[in-house]
């Protein structure tokens, strides 16, 4: 019994090392997030108008995608190898999901916007969770799960900016949002047959201001911490994702 107990400890420790091993998948799908405003690809030098008639420009747009996974023909979820991916509208990147060779069908894409509670309380991280990426509250520990910054003549702050830093991992303040998107048959076929294997997710910035809740820039020009207001924006941006109808980069 005594020996068994110590063996158990060792095996628990060992699994941590094995986890990184990868089974031999052959094919992959590249998932890209493409920021749009009013349906058009985001341009940082353009002035836009939201549904309340407020003008705005975008200077920064970033969010964490966590636990990205594709549903395949066997109705199983195939996960991305990396737990988190920081999407930054200024940097073109994609996340690769390796799917079993010969996958005939992909039906759904799911992910969360944000960083798990556990990863908010586990100290210094690296990679996409490196606090140097500026998606981290240093005075009230926790990740900024999504960030939208820009300028508007309707802003109430002296510099004319709006800064929405949305996060919260504790109890009622939790701002993590789960997203699940269906992939049409035509799109699934096109993706699996194409050479680029790109699955593009459009990310509509306009939804931040008006979707589940109406949130005018004139009424709220900044959010810099977790809480009830941050959650309103999280509700709104949880509706900003859709599978694109094209496969252009």
């Amino acid at each position: 019994m005594k020996t068994f107990a110590s063996c158990l400890f060792i095996s628990l420790f060992s699994t941590g090392f094995i986890n990184g091993a990868h089974q031999g998948y052959g094919d992959s799908v590249r998932v890209r997030f493409r920021a749009t405003v009013n349906g058009q690809p985001l341009k940082f030098d353009s002035t836009y108008t939201n549904s309340f008639g407020e003008d705005f420009t975008v200077t920064a747009f970033r969010f964490y995608v966590g636990h990205l996974a594709l549903n395949n023909s066997n109705n199983t979820w195939v996960k991305s190898r990396t737990a988190y991916h920081l999407v930054d509208a200024k940097i073109s990147t994609s996340e690769i999901i390796e799917i079993p060779r010969g996958t005939k069908k992909i039906t759904k894409l799911k992910f969360q916007v944000g960083v798990d509670s556990l990863d908010n309380v586990s100290g210094a991280q690296d990679g996409d969770l490196d606090p140097a990426h500026g998606m981290f509250w240093t005075w009230n520990t926790g990740y900024v799960m999504a960030k939208l910054e820009g300028n508007s003549s309707f802003s109430k702050v002296p510099t004319g900016s709006f800064t929405y830093h949305i996060g919260g991992y504790k109890g009622v303040d939790k701002a993590i949002r789960n997203i699940e998107l269906s992939i049409s048959n035509e799109m699934a076929i096109a993706i699996l047959q194409s050479k680029t294997d790109d699955l593009i997710v459009d990310v509509e910035i306009g939804k931040w201001f008006d979707s589940v809740h109406p949130l005018k820039i004139a009424e709220k020009s900044f959010v810099h911490g977790p809480g009830p207001t941050a959650k309103l924006y999280a509700d709104n941006y949880s509706t900003m994702f859709s599978i694109a109808n094209d496969m252009k980069p």
Binding site: K2, A5, S6, F9, I10, F13, F17, N120, V121, S122, G123, A124, Q125, D126, D130, P131, A132, F136, T138, W139, N140, T141, G142, D173, G225, P226, G227
Partner: protein
């Protein structure tokens, strides 16, 4: 015998106290033991994913004393956390930062930090490894940004060497910097005061100290709980808010009105070295703090129930209490060369 061996093995694994570590074996590093003082509970920070090594500790020590972690080079961690003051700021109610600015709080003593669940007066920091990011990036403290600090470190060959010694290669990133700082700060253990010696049977209290200890146990120790001399909780001790600072403490973090004016209970270890007192350093002497508890606690909506009626301490008791608090000074700790500014 078997039973003892088993317990020893189980303890090593359960408590993660870093003896068995494949990574340590692979790297040519010198593992260090984290010494839990007799009578102390297990620490909150157990060096998970950050095995304590001589090389990591020394790197953390160099970083702690390095002004390059601040924008203008003048504000290393050690500028507000001075060893002779038990790693608090000597004689300053509020810390000074970049460009002649004041912060809004008194720098807390960095002792026995590994036993704290949360850090800062308001508990805003949930992990020892990420704490340095707060002063480093605050515009009225070190006023730097992380990338800029890393650029400065990468340009210095001595850092390349030390990162390689600690981590096996010379990659310098925020995670490695923060983990090394955590190793140094977590090692700032103070447990060698006269009080500790008395507990270990190596010293004995005078009659006055003994009397002071009894008064302490009756009237102070429910918040300043032994052996850490804090229960790590947040309480409103009936200090009226300073209208120029408007610091509402814990409420800033939780957003809850019931946390208004609550601050972390500070440890009383080395209390004679850490003046001034209070979250904003408004008390210049320990006597003044005791007088506050005797006479001037403000009974507001969140004032701690233990303090509502103030604490009855007469002048004789106050004298004895002060004599007892003197026994909490750990002179070994403040002279410990391992924690001093490194030579290079």
């Amino acid at each position: 015998m078997m039973r003892r061996i088993f317990i020893a093995i189980a303890m090593i694994f359960c408590f993660g106290l870093f003896v068995f570590n494949a990574e340590i074996e692979r790297l040519a590093v010198t593992p260090m033991k984290f010494p839990v003082p007799k009578g102390f509970p297990l620490p909150e920070y157990r060096f998970q994913n950050n095995p304590l090594t001589k090389e990591g500790f020394e790197l953390g020590r160099k970083l702690f004393y390095d002004g390059r972690l601040s924008k203008d080079g003048n504000f290393p961690c050690a500028s507000c956390h001075q060893q002779f003051a038990s790693f608090s700021t000597y004689d300053h109610p509020l810390s000074h930062g970049f460009n002649d600015q004041f912060t809004t709080r008194n720098a807390p003593a960095l002792i026995n930090v590994a036993w704290m669940k949360e850090l800062h007066w308001d508990g805003g920091i949930n992990h020892i490894e990420v704490q340095p990011l707060s002063p480093m990036t605050a515009s009225n403290e070190m006023a730097e940004n992380i990338d800029s600090v890393l650029t400065k470190l990468r340009a210095d060959n001595s850092y390349k060497k030390m990162f390689r010694a600690a981590y096996g290669d010379d990659k310098i990133n925020s995670q490695r910097m923060l983990k090394a700082l955590a190793q140094f700060v977590a090692m700032l253990i103070s447990a060698d005061s006269k009080y500790d010696k008395m507990k270990r049977g190596e010293a004995s209290f005078s009659a006055t100290e003994k009397s002071g200890y009894e008064i302490f146990q009756n009237k102070c120790s429910s918040c300043h709980r032994e052996p850490l001399f804090t229960d790590d909780s947040y309480r409103n001790t009936g200090l009226p808010v300073n209208p120029k600072l408007n610091d509402f403490g814990r409420m800033i973090i939780t957003g809850k009105s019931e946390d208004s004016l609550k601050f972390k209970v500070p440890s009383l270890r080395n209390v004679y070295l850490t003046a001034p007192y209070g979250h904003d350093g408004r008390f210049y002497s320990i006597g003044a703090v005791i007088d506050h508890y005797r006479n001037s606690v403000v009974d507001g909506p969140t004032t701690d129930s233990l303090l509502r009626k103030k604490i009855a301490i007469n002048d004789d008791e106050k004298y004895d209490l002060l004599q007892f608090l003197r026994t909490l000074t750990d002179s070994t700790f403040i002279k410990d060369k391992r924690f001093a500014q490194p030579a290079n």
